[in-house]
Amino acid sequence: MKQKWVKLLSGFGLLALTLAGCSKDKDEVSNEEELITTVSLRFQEIGTANVFVATFRDTDGEGGNPPSIDEIVLKPNANYSCSVELLNESVSPAEDITEEVQEEADDHELYFIPAGANITINRVDLDSKSLPVGLSSTWQTGAASTGTVRVVLKHKPGTKAAGDPVTKGETDIDLNFTTKLQ
């Protein structure tokens, strides 16, 4: 009888080992998800060599350590061209997400919504259906003021249309940059 239990137990041990073998290899892709960790707005004052960059950065993604966010500081009554750069800096080397938005421009749209700050923003780049993308824009600043600019990236697979409100689609980016015209 005793022997039988021993046999059973050893059979069970074997099963345990088999099960342990089932669990997948640890070295496979781990902790790798397509994150957007970094949003950089690069401003070039038109006709000058003046460049200003404002960056939002959250390298560990949602939760965890808090992100850092710069203020946008521009001159009043000036014209800027703005280009947006999106990065995934959670991996090394950093991955450029801007290209992917560019490639799938038909499904993506960036919005710039100023509040309080005296700025007129126009998106200048267009997708294959001549709808705005927003990776490039012009910013025309007015009188000195302080407020915010909300930067939103929407993902609208197959549903992007002219005049979409900012509420349509799924949000990939939604940031408020404090903006000072001084």
Partner: protein, 787 residues
């Protein structure tokens, strides 16, 4: 629709008139009672017709006879010392001869969980789903099947994911035993449905509260037992083919069983079982719910070898599912959620989606393997020793919407957990009116190698327990008491970035004490007290990150201590002539109740603000009432009313607890047709279900809600609980004879009036209506000789 119901009622009434005009109380009901093991005829067995309180004893030849019965349907109870009682339902139209076979209490194939003779679960408060009731839920998921039991609700995530809630508690507080083995998966998630194929079971039992400590101390909410029928003991090849079709999501289910007991080696029996299921998008009264398809394929195999003093049983089950998650519930951040709530319904693109069987992202894909080996050996006349070894592997993959078409196809969440466990249990036979069980149990767990998104870390765990339960039965009394010690250690806790977390170790004692007193054959009361505890789980201790399905950031708390529940339950079962009252009260005090508390301010992420929650502890009080009242109007008509009422209070905050099921009432009217030559057991049941609005929610929270006057109010939820709703359901069944081949048919129509409603316990109530009318047809074909 109303016309159709009137017509049905009309037919039913006509049936009643016709039948009652034939009613003459001259029928005879006779038969023979035998022992299933020895095949001996049992003398002195009691055969009782419960409905009319008639009782006879079998003679030396095991025969019994009732005379002068009226036509109608009756509930029969057959009892004999040393045998398990058998309940049966008969339909008398002509004289009836029916034999009964009583399983022996020492029947070798019984589950270890069977401790008692008359009260299988001792003084625990239980409710079962079996036979006709279970047949009417075939094709539904486990959680959905259980919701007809009073006191049991479901926590839903859209149309595809159902999680059982017992007395307001769920997830880690509810244990599921699949064929006697604790289901070990990622139970902590409210959108992680139990990985069990209900077709395995021929009985689903819910043990309410912690009234049974046999299965684990952490079952503060309750235990769900998924119990397969015993392997065939009589030689022959048997089988069963089940099919089910549903109109709402055009779902088809095919499930089969084949089992054999060989005449050459009567000790040996085996069974194979398998299920295939495929359903498409569900439909609300107005629109299709995009991407809510479901696919499932499961199989199980069992083999048993039984001799009079020892036996061996092997069981393996494999569960695989792919569940679509409603596309309209995918949100980027809190602003998206608020937009969706404000809109009140899915966006046009989502609403206009057609019916489809395609399951796209977001979806879940889950695999579960369970292996069990059970051996037992009698220890003289004193008792029986049982050894159970089990192994489980669970893999859960959650695929979210891809950010770019070019993004990788990998799942965003990929978790695997392996568990090996063993139980050594000794059941002792009657000794001075005592019967009992002493056991040790242990398990080792490996939650290994999550991939992609971090939500919970990897860990290993040891669990150990010893328990002793004794039951004393004498005369009208039954007393039961049990003690249990559990120990749990979590170690090697790390994330893939080689960040390590502190080990955690918990241990404590739980106990239960209960008494049942039978005042008369009609009235039994049970009082049960238990004190149980639950160690904080991995997500409560160390979760860190975005819980996508709930669009919130959850942060664990490594300094949590175990929670303890002290519960009282009082149950009354009273069955006077024509009436049946089954009324249960419960009162549960939970100290250090672990819950997700909202933090302020919300966490800033690249996608905007996310509400942030962290695990905290409070003292809670849950009490309520489960009641079922039945009345037999005539031999054909029966009425039943059910109520489930729960009050859940946070004693520290002096406020209601959030996300608790609202009060629910049900009223049913059933008509039983008499047996005809080719139709048996035919019935029609119309029931109405009223679910109240949950008004008992916390007054304040951390969610900023701008008011029309421009001020901001802090709310506990994004949207107020949905209004009360009423649903009408219809159920009909019959057993048809095609020659000698019986065919069981069951037809159900849920949400008959196609009511548009939302349920507070559905996480997707913010985004869409619940599903509309669903008509289900089930056909069951038993094959081979019936036993």
């Amino acid at each position: 629709m109303v016309v159709a119901i009137r017509r049905i009622l009309g037919i039913l009434l006509l049936g009643l008139v016709v039948n009652s005009s034939q009613a003459q109380c001259i029928l005879r009901f006779s038969g023979v009672v035998t022992d299933s093991d020895t095949r001996e005829r049992l003398s002195g067995a009691t055969v009782r017709i419960k409905d009319i309180r008639l009782e006879v004893k079998t003679d030396e030849q095991g025969r019994f006879l009732f005379e002068g019965l009226c036509p109608g349907s009756y509930n029969i109870l057959i009892t004999h010392i040393g045998c398990q009682p058998v309940e049966s339902h008969i339909h008398l139209k002509d004289d009836l001869t029916q034999d009964f076979v009583l399983p022996h209490t020492h029947s070798e194939l019984e589950e270890v969980v069977v401790v008692g003779a008359t009260h299988k679960h001792g003084t625990a408060i239980t409710e079962e789903l079996k036979g006709r009731q279970l047949a009417a839920t075939r094709g539904a998921s486990l959680g959905e099947s259980l919701r007809s039991i009073s006191g049991v609700n479901v926590l839903q995530t859209g149309a595809t994911i159902f999680k059982p809630v017992i007395h307001g508690l769920h997830s880690n507080r509810v244990l599921i035993l699949n064929n006697g083995i604790r289901q070990e998966s990622q139970q902590w998630g409210s959108e992680h449905a139990p990985e069990v194929d209900p077709y395995i079971a021929n009985r689903l039992t819910v043990i309410k509260g912690a009234s049974s400590i046999r299965y684990g101390s952490d079952a503060i909410g309750g235990v769900v037992l998924v119990e397969p029928r015993l392997l065939p003991a009589a030689p022959g090849l048997y089988g069963e083919i089940n099919t089910a079709f549903f109109t709402n999501n055009r779902q088809g289910v095919l499930s089969g069983i084949i089992e054999n007991n060989s005449a050459k080696h009567p000790a040996f029996a085996w069974r194979l079982q398998g299920t295939l299921k495929k359903g498409g998008n569900s439909r609300t009264p107005d629109y299709w719910l995009m991407n809510t398809g479901i696919e499932e394929y499961n199989f199980s195999a069992a083999a048993g070898w039984q001799q009079s003093h020892r036996g061996l049983e092997l069981f393996y089950s494999n569960f695989n599912t792919r569940l679509g998650i409603f596309r309209g519930a995918h949100i980027g951040n809190v602003t998206d959620l608020e937009t969706a709530i404000e809109r009140g319904e899915p966006s046009e693109e989502i609403k206009s989606a057609p019916f489809s069987y395609t399951i796209d992202r977001p979806y879940q894909q889950v695999h579960h393997h369970l292996f069990k080996l059970k051996a037992h050996h009698t220890t003289g006349t004193a008792g029986k020793l049982n050894l159970v070894l089990s192994g489980q592997y669970n893999n859960r993959m959650e695929f979210d919407v891809k950010r770019f078409a070019s993004s990788s196809d990998a799942p965003q969440l990929d978790l695997s957990i392996s568990t090996v466990g063993t139980d050594l249990v000794w059941d002792h036979n009657n000794w001075n009116n005592f019967r009992g069980t002493i056991g040790v149990s242990g398990s080792f767990q490996l939650n290994d190698s999550y991939k992609q998104r971090v939500f919970i870390p990897n860990y290993r765990a040891w669990n150990g327990a010893v328990f002793w339960i004794e039951k004393w039965t004498k005369g009208k009394w039954m007393l039961e008491g049990g003690l249990r010690y559990d120990w749990r250690k979590l170690f090697d806790i790390e994330n893939n970035n080689s960040e390590r977390f502190a080990d955690q170790q918990f241990s404590s004692v739980s106990g239960s004490l209960g008494g049942t007193y039978r005042w008369s054959p009609e009235l039994t009361t049970t009082l049960n007290f238990s004190s149980a505890w639950r160690a904080p789980q991995i997500n409560e201790l160390y979760s860190d990150g975005l819980h996508h399905s709930s669009a919130r950031i959850e942060t664990g708390n490594p300094s949590l201590v175990p929670e303890r529940a002290n519960s009282w339950m009082l149950n009354m079962d009273y069955q006077p002539f024509r009436w049946r009252f089954d009324i249960g009260f419960y009162y549960k005090d939970i100290s250090n109740f672990i819950y997700l508390a909202p933090d302020y301010p919300p966490v800033l992420t690249i996608r905007g603000a996310f509400p942030s929650f962290s695990f905290r502890q409070t003292d809670a009080r849950l009490h309520g009432l489960d009641a079922t009242v039945g009345y037999v109007l005539t031999a054909h008509w029966k009425a039943e009313a059910k109520a489930s009422i729960l009050r859940a209070w946070d004693k520290t905050a002096d406020d209601w607890l959030i996300q608790m099921p609202a009060d629910r009432y049900e009223l049913g009217l059933q008509y039983e047709f008499g047996n005809a030559k080719h139709w048996q057991d035919s019935y029609v049941k119309l029931s109405g279900q009223q679910v109240m609005r949950q008004t008992r929610v916390p007054v304040t929270g951390n969610i900023e809600k701008p008011q029309p006057d421009g001020s901001i109010r802090m709310e506990s939820d994004y949207a107020p609980p949905p209004p009360a709703y009423f649903l009408l359901n219809l159920e009909a069944g019959t057993k048809l004879f095609w020659g000698k081949q019986p065919i069981q048919l069951s037809l159900t129509a849920t949400n008959l009036l196609n009511t548009a409603y939302r349920d507070y316990m559905n996480a997707f109530r913010y985004f869409a209506w619940e599903t509309g009318r669903n008509i289900g047809l089930r056909i069951m074909l038993p094959l081979g000789k019936q036993h």
